[in-house]
């Protein structure tokens, strides 16, 4: 968990572009492997940005499908209503191939969508003329890294040059997504991780004392600090007396976020925005300040709240570090997003850049 892959059970992963920096998270390992050429593609899971953000930090292409597009059966559950598996690869065409293999209905996942899977590769026409592309003003707020702003803006101009019609739009609920996420995800997480008690399988800390003490020790040593933080947050948010004020309220806000996007997608076909306000930061820079860590995800979180598909597409560099362009579409518009990314990648070279490693 977390936005930097510093919370790994093994050891922190390093960004191939600068090994003193984080690769992003939580699927930072996948992104780094693809970026470094160690693997042609990898799978990641995106609950609040965990495919898009590391893809952006590592200069690779990543896609988070519509919630329910890819089965969650077999995926260790973190936040059940947000998790989605998706591809991380060198370009959109590869992502299309991988998505084709993993998308589709699964009878073992009751949240899996029954909709037919289109031919994603066939959707890569390279033509986006007439595409109505929205640019949400809330995603270009103060405090954004200047280099990130420049790269993303240039990418949007490039898309305009390729035939897209750019429109300014507004998503007023954007500012609530962070708080909303950090109530809902930890709540679901606190229940999903309850099974890891060392009784049935997995890590089990032996020692003296009774069954309860053994369970406590197992969880004390088996979970890292960020995971524990989220479990505690979640248990608190769900507890009697607080449920209404936190979890219930967060779910209501979530509905507003969904409605916000639905409203905007009546006017535009897709949205273009940054993936993150920053580029890869130094290892250890944000580990002492969880909230500061959480802030790197402000632009990716709303997408998970609404269950929408989104991509991260390499679009430039800031101080030598990759910047990702985020493309967001309505439900089940993966084919459209892949085509936008593919078209962009036919006209640009950012995705071909390789770290010196």
């Amino acid at each position: 968990m977390g936005s930097s892959t510093e919370n790994s059970a093994f050891f922190p992963t390093r960004n191939p572009w600068d090994t003193g920096r984080v690769p992003g998270g939580s699927s930072g390992g996948s992104a780094a492997a693809v970026s470094a050429g160690a693997a042609p593609f990898a799978l990641g899971t995106d609950t609040g940005g965990s495919i898009r953000q590391p893809a952006s930090f590592c200069g690779v292409t990543g896609l988070k499908p519509t919630y329910g597009r890819v089965s969650r059966y077999g995926l260790v559950a973190y936040a059940s209503s947000l998790d989605q598996v998706g591809p991380i690869a060198r370009d959109a065409a590869d992502c299309a191939l991988i998505l084709q293999s993993i998308a589709g209905h699964d009878s073992r996942d009751a949240t899996s969508l029954p909709d037919a899977v289109p031919d994603y590769s066939a959707a890569l026409t390279g033509d986006i003329s007439g595409l109505r592309l929205g640019v949400p003003s809330e995603y270009f707020a103060e405090g954004m890294d200047a280099g990130v702003r420049a790269a993303v803006t240039a990418a949007i101009d490039q898309l305009a040059a390729l035939g897209a019609e750019i429109r300014e739009v507004s998503l007023p609920t954007t500012q609530y997504a962070l708080a909303c996420y950090y109530i809902i995800a930890p709540s679901e997480c606190s229940a999903n991780l309850a099974r890891y008690d060392g009784v049935k399988y997995g890590y089990s800390h032996q020692g003296d004392g009774d069954m309860w003490e053994a369970m406590e020790r197992t969880r004390q040593h088996g979970f890292g600090p960020e995971v524990k933080r989220r479990i505690m947050l979640g248990a608190f948010a769900l507890s009697s007396g607080y449920y209404d004020a936190y979890y219930h309220k967060a779910q209501q806000v979530r509905t507003l976020i969904r409605q916000d996007f639905a409203h905007v997608f009546e006017e535009v076909d897709a949205l273009a925005a940054p993936v993150s306000p920053v580029v890869a930061f130094p290892i250890g820079e944000r580990t002492d300040d969880p909230v500061r860590m959480y802030l790197v995800d402000v632009y990716t979180l709303p997408v998970n709240m609404a269950g929408l598909p989104a991509m991260s597409v390499p679009c430039g560099f800031s101080n030598g570090l990759p910047v990702g362009l985020q493309l967001i579409g309505p439900h089940l518009s993966e084919d459209r997003l892949l085509n936008i990314a593919h078209t962009y990648q036919q006209a640009t070279e950012w995705h071909r850049e390789r770290p010196g490693i």
Binding site: R72, Y73, G74, L75, V76, A77, A79, S80, S81, S107, R108, D109, A110, T111, S187, E188, S190, A191, L193, A194, R195, Y196, D197, V199, K200, Y201, G202, M211, M215, A235, L238, S239, S240, Y243, Y247
Partner: protein, 542 residues
């Protein structure tokens, strides 16, 4: 019971469903006799990455139960996670239903007491937990616990009553009626001893006439109906004593200790679980269409209370018989097939036939089924039409009691037709005297001391003689006639002793037929004597 205080009781019953699969995975739900941990899969074992999928049959069964309890069925319902830690709870949470149960707002009229309508608050769906088997330590060693996960995930329906019960008699009636309904609609075995029907009770007391609810105590661990009534009686007495002593009843959970006969405090309010309920994100809400509900409603069998009434009215059965018959749906179905298989009869005859059929089903059939553990009368070898034949013959006294039971037993064992068995075993009752008398005489000849006893005033000796005749003819029931015949012989009594058998016989025959002339002609016929019979001569048997 104390008249100063009124008891208020509510019951929470967990009913295990007898579905093919578990509630959220496709493992077999028939865990009872399976070797441990053989009815498991990654989902019910809660392995990482697994997800639940709803068993639609279980949902239909829940609706069935709700409809049988006069509940409303929710148009939209959902599951919730009930979070707590215990080794037998595989996921660390139980998938249950919190605020939108599938059925709600129903009632049950207690049988035999129509003014007692017990409200049903809700019926909701959840999953059972694994079984823990505690092995005590030996020689001072610590014990250990084994876990059998077969039961984890088996569908459970929780039926919650309103606190409308007032007496332990009502509680007993509620429990047995609910069990009967569950079995009638064929969703479960509803057996407390097997664990497919579990009761928890909430009990409080309040001053008689008050409408405010007192602090309630939850009682758990009552494993038989008897335990429920005993536990409630104890608890009511305990609370009453407490209040009379000026204390307040503590709201808590108490466990019933059947051996000692007391309830013991388990958890106080402070330690009460906070289940942190939230909607189950892995299962989308269910929309229940009106057409599905209508379909299920139309397939509900006639429920026991109505059926009992109908049996009393249509077949003229006494209430006791009707109640016993209708307590099992299959037995009631069978009964109806038996009575419908005979042709038209006069109403009085039909009534007698129905009563006789009820006797056989509630009596011999039940006894045989009990002996070999058969629970469904249709699984026995006796077809309804076949039983009808036996009942007919018995009703017309073509068989005596013992004979009929013997025939029944053979039919039960081999499935043979009634008539075949009767014929094979020569159990045809001989109702006319012609075949009986030679035998009767032989018996009298052979047992002079019994005859002397009878004549000497020991009336019961006639039974022995009758029994000997019966044995000799293998006619298992003509008893009334035989007995009549013999009694008549000797009771005409004092003064007849010493008279020839023939005179005694004629005297008896006169009594039986009503006049002397008829007695003579009947005797001739009966004894196959060809010549004229002269009363005073010695008889010889021809």
């Amino acid at each position: 019971m104390d008249t100063q205080y009124e008891t208020v009781i509510g019951l929470e019953v967990h009913v295990q469903l007898r579905t093919h699969s578990k509630m959220f995975c496709s493992c077999g739900a028939d865990y009872q006799l399976m070797p441990p941990n053989t009815r498991v899969c990654p989902v019910c074992l809660a392995l990482p990455g697994t997800l639940p999928v709803v068993n639609s049959r279980a949902v239909e069964d829940a609706i069935k139960i709700g409809l049988a309890l006069n509940c409303k069925v929710a148009e939209t319902t959902k599951f919730d996670r009930k979070n707590y830690a215990y080794p037998d709870l595989m996921k660390g949470y139980q998938i249950s239903q919190y605020d939108v149960p599938i059925c709600y707002d129903g009632y049950m009229d207690l049988p035999g007491d129509p003014s007692s309508r017990i409200g049903i608050e809700r019926v909701h769906m959840e999953e059972d937990v694994a079984r823990l088997i505690h092995i005590p330590g030996q020689d001072g060693e610590a014990g250990h616990t084994l876990m059998d996960v077969n039961r984890a995930g088996v569908p459970l329906m929780e039926v919650v009553s309103r606190p409308d019960l007032r007496t332990t008699d009502q509680v007993e009636a509620y429990i047995s009626n609910l069990q009967m309904i569950i079995r009638y609609i064929d969703v479960g075995t509803a057996n407390m001893e097997e664990g497919s029907f579990r009761c928890d009770a909430n009990v409080s007391i309040r001053p008689a006439g008050s409408t405010k609810l007192g602090a309630k105590v939850e009682i758990k661990n009552m494993n038989r109906i008897r335990a429920v009534t005993r536990a409630l009686e104890y608890e009511i007495a305990r609370q009453t004593e407490d209040v009379k002593a000026g204390n307040r009843v503590v709201q808590e959970t108490r466990g019933w200790d059947d051996e000692v006969g007391v309830t013991v405090s388990q958890r106080s309010k402070e330690d009460a679980h906070d289940y942190r309920y939230f909607p189950e994100p892995d299962l989308p809400p269910l929309r229940i269409g009106a057409s599905l509900v209508d379909h299920i409603r139309s397939e509900l069998p006639e429920l026991p209370a109505l059926r009992k009434d109908r049996f009393q009215q249509s077949w003229g059965l006494p209430e006791y018989d009707a109640a016993l018959l209708t307590s099992s749906r299959t037995t009631a179905d069978y009964f109806e097939q038996v009575v419908r298989s005979v042709g038209a009869m006069a109403k009085g005859e039909m009534s007698a036939f129905a009563k006789e059929t009820a006797n056989w089903l509630n009596g011999e059939m039940a006894r045989h089924m009990n002996n070999d553990g058969t629970t469904n009368v249709f699984d026995t070898r006796i077809r309804p039409e076949n039983l009808a034949v036996l009942v007919g013959r018995f009703g017309r006294r073509e068989l005596n009691n013992a004979g009929a039971k013997q025939v029944f037993g053979e039919m039960y064992r081999s499935g043979a037709d009634a008539d075949d068995v009767i014929e094979q075993q020569g159990l045809q009752q001989v109702s006319d005297t012609s075949e009986l008398d030679p035998v009767a005489d032989e018996v009298i000849q052979a047992n002079p001391s019994a005859v002397r006893d009878y004549l000497g005033g020991k009336k019961t000796a006639v039974r022995f003689l009758v029994g000997q005749v019966m044995k000799a003819t293998r006619a298992l029931e003509a008893e009334p006639l035989m007995k009549e015949l013999f009694e008549y012989r000797f009771t005409e009594g004092n003064g007849l002793a010493g008279h020839s058998f023939g005179n005694l016989f004629i005297a008896a025959m006169s009594g039986v037929t009503g006049n002397f002339e008829q007695a003579v002609s009947e005797s001739s016929r009966v004894l196959k004597v060809t010549g004229r019979i002269v009363p005073s001569t010695l008889w010889t048997f021809g």
